[in-house]
Symmetry: C2
């Protein structure tokens, strides 16, 4: 059970955008540089983010992307579901239809997977981009502290 690089890239791109929230638009090439993400791959991701309304865009010179919501209102779970479809999916993505519910009896682990997904959701749906920013700030201040001790 691995997360995809696409998932990592998406989150990092959106986080990078959040650093520039309420400022001017950010070019894909800048996001790509800042977060070390292959440009053309990121372009595709940005289109997907736009299609589902997380970012807006402007073409041409001084164009770029920006978030449509405040960093405090975008949660990691949303982005991951957008990009990866589910937080925790079965191998061949069975839609949650009647047939699979009937088959659930045969699948002895059916309920377990749901519990796992819920557990993941309880983490990922409670952490916003703003929270990540805060955490990052804390890590950095701790680092400074360490440096003082090490002088």
């Amino acid at each position: 059970m691995k997360r995809s690089t696409r998932c990592d890239y998406s989150l990092r791109a959106v986080l990078e955008l959040s650093f520039h929230y309420e400022k001017k638009l950010v070019r894909v090439s800048d996001l790509s540089d800042a977060q070390d993400i292959p440009l053309k791959f990121l372009e595709q991701i940005m289109l997907q983010l736009k299609k589902s309304g997380y970012v807006r865009s402007k073409k041409g010179p001084n164009g770029g992307y920006s978030l449509t919501k405040a960093p405090g209102d975008i949660f990691l779970g949303e982005i991951i579901r957008l990009v990866d479809d589910r937080l925790f999916a079965p191998v061949l993505s069975e839609p949650m239809n009647r047939l699979t519910t009937l088959d659930a009896a045969r699948d002895n682990f059916f309920g377990v997977w749901a519990e796992v997904e819920d557990a993941m959701a309880s983490v990922l749906d409670s952490i916003s981009l703003a929270d990540i920013q805060k955490r990052q700030a804390e890590v950095l201040s701790k680092k400074k502290l360490n440096m003082v001790y090490h002088i």
Copy 2:
């Protein structure tokens, strides 16, 4: 984030073995039939399970596999970690060495992934094979009830 079929197969194989705990050995071919798992694929999985001590085996006629521990003492998380390495791994599996911890500051999401893995662990390390058996029994009894109502 998908679970692998190998993970599903492993759990189902071990569960099937748990149904025969304290009885005679079970052949791989029987496990394969009962759980509808490709035989040669399952053989490989069984070897891995043996190597790490979850099952014992006997070759030749009347040979087969059996669990080394009681179903109540084998938890899903153990099996999954064995088969998939981690409950929730990064894309390119970085070992948890000093370098990655230093890089953690750069990776703004580092802590998040750890939290997610913990959340998954709290589910998967608390459910044993015996628990799955119990759940299964409950599902079946509910089904019977439904059938009565439907007459």
